[in-house]
Amino acid sequence: MAMSEQPILKVSNVETYYGPIMAIRGVSFEVAKGGIVTILGANGAGKTTVLKTVSGVMDPQKGSVLFEGREIRGMDPDKVMRLGMSHVPEGREVFPFLSVRENLRMGAYTRRDADGVAQDLETVFGYFPVLRERADQRAGSLSGGEQQMLAISRALMARPHLMLLDEPSLGLSPKLVKDIFEIIVRINRERGVTILLVEQNANMALQTADFGYVLEVGRIVMADTCERLMQKEDIKEFYLGIKEQGARGKRRWKKRKTWR
């Protein structure tokens, strides 16, 4: 992963509000081309807001968002998407009454090359064979895990340069989470798609990504390579759930962070 190249995404001093409430308070980060970057954070830290601000669903009041060197702040999400950024939203958001195949075709809505689309359809069926079996079923009838696979595949159908993944592990069994993360790595390695991953499952995210940011109450509080992040005491305690035994074998006074 060449970190020296110009970053594919550069977010500087972005502030986003929900009405009067400032949800992200001057966040800056970079995503290197070809890498996997993760943003960790607890509930309400502002992870989803960061992604929504990047993809244009929410407009920041301040700051700049550069995608491949281009200012995309304030652009409509469909335009941002056309530039090569796919967003896999939290909670999957498939089209429930369309078939799996139609959902995937919608992912390729912006493309005109029918051959390429058909080829990519085969590729994603290769990643997730279960989707081929269910190709003509309504997406709403799929299980949560299958819907997550569909959501990722759908985003892939646009041949993005950068993929934003919002909590792909949400509500899935540990086995399924592992499978999905393996595919995410394959997508990154095989197709050269840069990935920005937002997760509460810090363990999984840190093992998958190269570089990580930690977001707390709307601010980036830590930024380092994932290897080093995994060694830090705070990360271990609050994000990985590894408890240090105190002198008297009691828990420390600070509340342990918990996951869903």
Partner: protein, 247 residues
């Protein structure tokens, strides 16, 4: 209603051919629908659905007033090329009614094909099911909304013109029909074109049989009684489906 008025103007005032007038009317009203979306309706996107309902009811009232100012409250007849009658096995069918049935079938068929087999049509379904996700797919949601309004307005215009020979053109022509159409849509299940057709036929039959067999007055109320029963027993309609979002 507006569609029928436009067609009337084209045929009677400017002396155009019926079919040309039909086309002009559908296109103008369709364009009008798109403009209406871009200027007025877009502002309530993201508000509760009820806001849209209120807004359209309000706009409807405005247009009726506008029409009565422009065209007066007289009743107009639209001359059509469907004059004759057919005798099929002792049943007399006027071409006028046949034109309505055929027109409806063509419209429904075209809409069905459009929504299920074209890229834009499927994108419209997708947008209605999940607006945010549609944005993420790069579907130009705002444009899609305008298109949907254009199509609905165009279809409404076509329906108005088809209906014009039967109900005659006046400022309230759509009201009673719209209410029954609503009953038909609920009966068939919202969002299902075959359902709407079946619902329409059922409502029509109920109305006729109620008129023939039940005491006077039931003819007009029977469809609504059925509607109420339907809502209580099977609110999703005959062909509709309710699906809950999985988490």
């Amino acid at each position: 209603m507006l569609g029928a008025f436009v067609a009337y103007m084209a045929v009677v005032w400017w002396g155009l051919d019926y079919w040309l007038a039909f086309l002009i009317s559908v296109v103008t009203i369709g364009a009008f629908g798109a403009v209406l979306d871009a200027t007025v309706l877009r502002n309530v996107i993201g508000q509760p659905q009820f806001a849209v309902v209120m807004l359209t009811i309000g706009l409807g009232a405005m247009f009726r007033t506008f029409a009565s100012v422009t065209w007066g409250s007289e009743i107009y007849t639209l001359p059509t090329p469907f004059g004759g009658v057919w005798n099929v096995g002792g049943v007399t069918l006027s071409h006028q009614y046949i034109s309505i049935v055929v027109g409806t079938l063509i419209l429904c068929g075209a809409l069905y094909l459009f929504f299920n087999h074209t890229r834009v049509g499927v994108a419209m379904q997708a947008t209605s099911q999940n607006q945010l996700a549609a944005y993420y797919m790069g579907i130009p949601v705002k444009l899609i909304f305008s298109l949907i309004w254009a199509i609905s307005a165009g279809v409404a215009a076509a329906a108005g013109i088809l209906l014009a020979p039967v109900t005659l053109i006046d400022i309230n022509m759509g009201l009673a029909v719209a209410l029954k159409a609503f009953a038909a849509a609920v009966l068939g299940g919202f969002g299902s074109i075959p359902g709407a057709l079946a619902g329409g036929i059922i409502i029509g039959l109920i109305e006729l049989y109620a008129g023939a067999t039940l005491p006077e007055g039931f003819k007009d109320t029977a469809p609504y009684i059925v509607l109420l029963i339907m809502l209580a027993v099977r609110p999703q309609g005959l062909f509709g489906t309710l699906a809950r979002k999985k988490v």
